[in-house]
């Protein structure tokens, strides 16, 4: 009874801040906010969508006073559980703050609100011959604020960098409820790099309410190529060889045989895939002459490594057709099995071959087919482990298989997450790559920003009471729905 009353008064207080139509509190209305693109469901107490920095600050202060957790959320496309509310509380959806506040083509910068969709920003920047470089696969849906929280990557980040290389400053509401600016347009300001510390902090030390981003000039020419290999080892060998030859491709992606099986029926013209154990997608950009020269070198390297098919595209529609397999792999794989657990591990490029072999072996041992679709150029793997939740024990065992794959990445000198973040999912793996002293230093960073147990609790670091130890499969899996691309 007392809880219900407290809940009602919390909702009423939130409504006073943002207006009644920006607050959800009935369970049926909040179903979509119980999950993101990771596994698991957690019901919040309320969902609120502020429109201004002042409202965000007021909400945080209110939650602090009420002793209620808050969870900032963008589009909810995150794969590590960053936007879910394991301890309930108020989800602060940043998706009403969608304005592009400033386009500064001369200084190649933009100032945006956190709810601006990644792809939309690039579309607007295109009018000025510019684009926003970090392009996660979910870019048609995901938001800049979410990108900042996760330090998102995407296929073009080997050449162009990840979100932190394109974030110049931001206005942030801190866990205390205070709003402040860090960084800004002018670079190399004296002081500690608070902007750099904030990017990738997964919404645990503040909520960005305005973001200054760097824009990148569009390349004159883009050349996309696919190379098909009869053996996986040849493809991963080609990845290392391309880099070793001094080429930094704009993108270097790989899809394996299982993925090819899934997408091939949907791509009737893609005969180059037939019989391939792996297909590489390579993109080079820059001046026309440079793309021609680099593409020739890439083809030579691929053929040296054993490629039996090689296709090049320069026109937009053709290039999109070549990208189609990579971009729609997940959707296509969904036809082959009822459930997928998508992993995110990263290994040194030169270790791709042995690690992929281990992934294959783990899949066989557990009896799960595993499809590999990933950013080969960065060594960033995305094994997709197929399973069926309806079969008893499979959900638990798929998590175990995932843990073994994580360990294989760590043993190869890699890391537990290349771009999806730690969130809830990978907290338990943090001690595998960081010592107690390393983790203590990260706690100090949190403390310096005034992090509290209420501010997006249970994420990233393995401490925290009442949090459990990571993702657990619930009794009934949520309907993930369309549009949760990765």
């Amino acid at each position: 009874m007392a809880t219900k009353r407290r809940s009602r008064s919390l909702v009423a207080a939130l409504q006073r801040i943002v207006g009644a139509d920006a607050v959800l509190h009935a369970p049926d209305d909040m179903v979509v906010f119980e999950y993101d693109a990771s596994i698991g469901k957690h019901a919040p107490q309320a969902v609120v969508a502020p429109a201004t920095t002042a409202q965000v600050a007021a909400i945080v202060r209110l939650a602090n006073a009420a002793g209620v957790p808050i969870v900032p959320r963008g589009a909810g496309t995150g794969l590590s559980g960053g936007a879910v509310a394991p301890r309930g509380g108020v989800v602060i959806a940043m998706t009403r703050m969608t304005r592009i506040l400033e386009m500064d083509a001369v200084n190649r910068m933009a100032v945006v609100e956190p709810g601006v969709v990644n792809y939309k920003l690039s579309q607007v920047a295109h009018r000025y011959g510019l684009h926003y470089a970090p392009d996660p696969s979910s870019q048609k849906v995901c938001t800049i604020g979410g990108n900042i929280a996760e330090n998102s990557g995407g296929p073009h980040c080997l050449a162009y960098g990840v979100t932190t290389n394109h974030a110049l400053g931001m206005e942030v509401v801190l866990p205390s409820g205070e709003a402040m600016w860090m960084g800004g347009k002018e670079q190399d300001r004296p002081g500690y790099d608070l902007t750099g510390l904030f990017v990738g902090s997964e919404g645990t030390i503040g909520i960005a309410t305005k973001i200054v981003v760097r824009l990148t000039p569009n390349p004159e020419a883009v050349r996309t190529m696919v190379a098909a290999f009869p053996e996986m080892e040849q493809a991963s060998g080609a990845v290392s060889a391309i880099i070793a030859r001094g080429i930094v491709p704009a993108a270097l992606e790989m899809i394996d045989a299982m993925t090819i099986t899934a997408v091939r029926p949907l791509m009737p013209d893609a005969t180059y895939m037939d019989g391939a154990a792996a297909v590489l997608l390579i993109e080079v950009d820059g001046l026309r002459e440079s793309t021609v020269e680099e593409a020739a070198l890439v083809e030579a390297v691929c053929r040296e490594q054993g490629a039996t098919q090689f296709v090049t595209a320069t026109r937009a529609e053709e290039r999109e057709r070549l990208w189609w397999a990579r971009k729609n792999a997940f959707g296509a794989l969904g036809r082959l099995a009822p459930n997928y657990y998508i992993l995110d591990g990263v290994v040194p490029r030169t270790k791709l071959t042995p690690v992929l072999r281990q992934v294959n072996e783990i899949g066989k041992r557990y009896g799960f087919p595993i499809a590999n679709v990933f950013h080969a150029g960065d060594g960033n793997l995305h094994p997709c482990v197929a399973f069926d939740e309806r079969i008893a024990g499979q959900s638990e065992r798929v998590l175990e298989a995932g843990a073994e794959i994580m360990q294989a990445c760590i043993d190869a000198g890699g890391s537990i997450t290349g771009e999806h973040g730690v969130g809830l999912e990978k907290k338990k793996f943090m001690p595998l790559i960081f010592s107690a002293d390393d983790l203590a230093a990260q706690e100090k960073l949190k403390a310096a920003f005034g992090a509290t147990e209420l501010f997006n609790p249970c994420k990233v670091l393995p401490s925290g009471a009442g949090c459990g130890d990571g993702l657990k499969f619930p009794q009934r899996l949520p309907d993930l729905g369309p549009g949760t691309a990765w």
Partner: protein, 454 residues
């Protein structure tokens, strides 16, 4: 607080007698005129940890020093007991060319590292003055950068892993060995530009870049600033991706020419210096485009030919303030956007003229960062600190006029006593103070030197 002799004894036990400097040598390692009580070469992470444990136990103020090329940054130290010398920690721990990454000890010099990487066709594309002496640890701690940030970014865009020893003597690592890594907080960023006030950097791992198959350097000399900037603006608007695009004034150009033998073009006041890199045909086209833009824009075009001459040119530019023959008595750094650049350039030059000083300017046009090197008239040392100190205030105001900032990167101790080298700390100071409090609660790491007196 142990006496100097006792301190030296303890340090000798840690690092060996030959690695501890004698009392006679200590004044060479003074920071802003403050001589330390001891100076010790360390060779390993464990030794650094032992020194820091000692420092924490005894409340000793410690400052790390690599090549000593950026020691004049920041406020004068509040205290200085031990200078930790890192030059002997100079191993390249790992370089896997196929990974395009390298892990090095902090005492490796930037020049030494690049010489080793070049043999495999790779580079760490950072610029630093006196790169044959500047160490990786120092470059990171000072966030040193130069012209090539246009094409390759700065330290924060290259660092993928770091190991430090904190104030209590605990080794801590952040990041890793792979180019994509979002495991945990991006703690590495805290140490870049921190001037060693949060921890002593002992190891660093970088994402390297391939040496481009072809490079060209072209200078365009103009009579008027507007002409030079218009040409630069036009080139950038066309989508040109130069790996360096700097605006120099005549004083900087003269200094560089003196050391490299390029023609001074003394009837011209402003020079655009561009580097273009990529495949040969692409570079050829870019050179043609830049050359045409310069000549169409009223400028005189001067190519710098040959790999050697180009490398010397860009290093000479970075070295302008540290030229042994004419070291700058003060170096400033401003952040300024396009709109504010012309008035800032004119303002700085007017200030110099009015105060009987000379100023060499170097603006990295794609980054909005401008460096200023200051000499007394005739290229010597100003007799009076007051002039320089007053200049600082005026210059900072000029930069602030357009929302920018100004920092004095080096100056005489006398100037530091009279002027604020960092400028007023903004709203970020509260969190910065918290960070310092978390990582160095006793204030043993370079106390008093950082922004806000941290």
């Amino acid at each position: 607080m142990p006496a100097a002799a006792e301190l030296t004894q303890v340090l000798q036990a840690i690092a060996g007698a030959t690695n501890c400097l004698s009392a006679a040598e200590l004044p060479l390692y003074a920071v802003d005129g403050m001589t330390p009580r001891a100076a010790v070469y360390v060779r390993s992470v464990e030794q650094v940890a032992e020194v820091m444990r000692l420092a924490s136990r005894e409340g000793l103020a410690v400052t790390a020093r690599g090549g000593g090329t950026a020691m004049r940054q920041g406020y004068a130290p509040a205290r200085l007991d031990v200078v930790l010398l890192t030059r002997k920690m100079d191993a390249v721990l790992e370089h896997v060319p196929a990974e395009m990454t390298a892990m090095v000890e902090a005492g490796v010099t930037l020049g030494g590292l690049n010489a080793a990487l070049a043999k495999h066709g790779q580079m760490l594309p950072l610029d630093a003055p006196a790169s044959s002496r500047a160490t990786i640890g120092g470059v990171l701690a000072a966030n040193t950068s130069g012209a090539h940030r246009a094409g390759y970014g700065t330290a924060r865009d290259r660092l993928i892993g770091i190991r430090i020893v904190d104030a209590a003597g605990t080794p801590v690592k952040a990041g890793g060995k792979v180019v994509k890594n979002v495991a945990g907080y991006d703690l590495q960023k805290a140490f870049i530009g921190s001037l060693g006030t949060l921890g002593v950097i002992v190891e660093a791992t970088f994402k390297l870049a391939p040496l481009p198959p072809s490079r060209a350097t072209l200078a365009g000399a103009f009579r008027e600033l507007d002409e030079a900037l218009a040409v630069a603006r036009g080139l950038l608007a066309s989508g040109l991706r130069a790996t360096a695009l700097d605006l120099l004034n005549a004083r900087t150009w003269a200094s560089v020419c003196q050391r490299t033998g390029n023609p001074t073009m003394s009837d011209r006041r402003y020079i655009l210096a561009a580097e273009l890199a990529g495949t040969p045909a692409a570079v050829q086209r870019m050179v043609g485009q830049v050359h045409r833009a310069i000549t169409d824009g009223g400028g005189k075009s001067h190519p710098i030919e040959g790999e050697q001459a180009q490398a010397e040119f860009w290093q000479a530019l970075a070295d302008t303030g540290v030229d042994m023959a004419q070291p700058a008595s003060m170096t400033t750094r401003c952040g300024v956007l396009w709109a504010g650049l012309p008035s800032l350039v004119h303002g700085f030059e007017a200030m110099a003229e009015g105060s009987k000083l000379e100023v060499g300017l170097d603006a990295h046009l794609t980054a909005g960062v401008m460096r200023g090197w200051w000499w007394a008239e005739g290229g010597g040392v100003p007799k009076d600190d007051t002039l320089a100190a007053e200049a600082v205030g005026t210059l900072r105001k000029a930069a602030g006029h357009h929302g920018g900032y100004m920092v004095v990167e080096s100056c005489a101790p006398g100037v530091k006593r009279k002027a604020d080298v960092w400028g007023q700390a903004g709203p970020e100071l509260a969190i910065m103070r918290s960070l310092k409090q978390q990582f160095d609660p006793q204030g043993v790491l370079s106390p008093g030197r950082f922004v806000g007196g941290l």
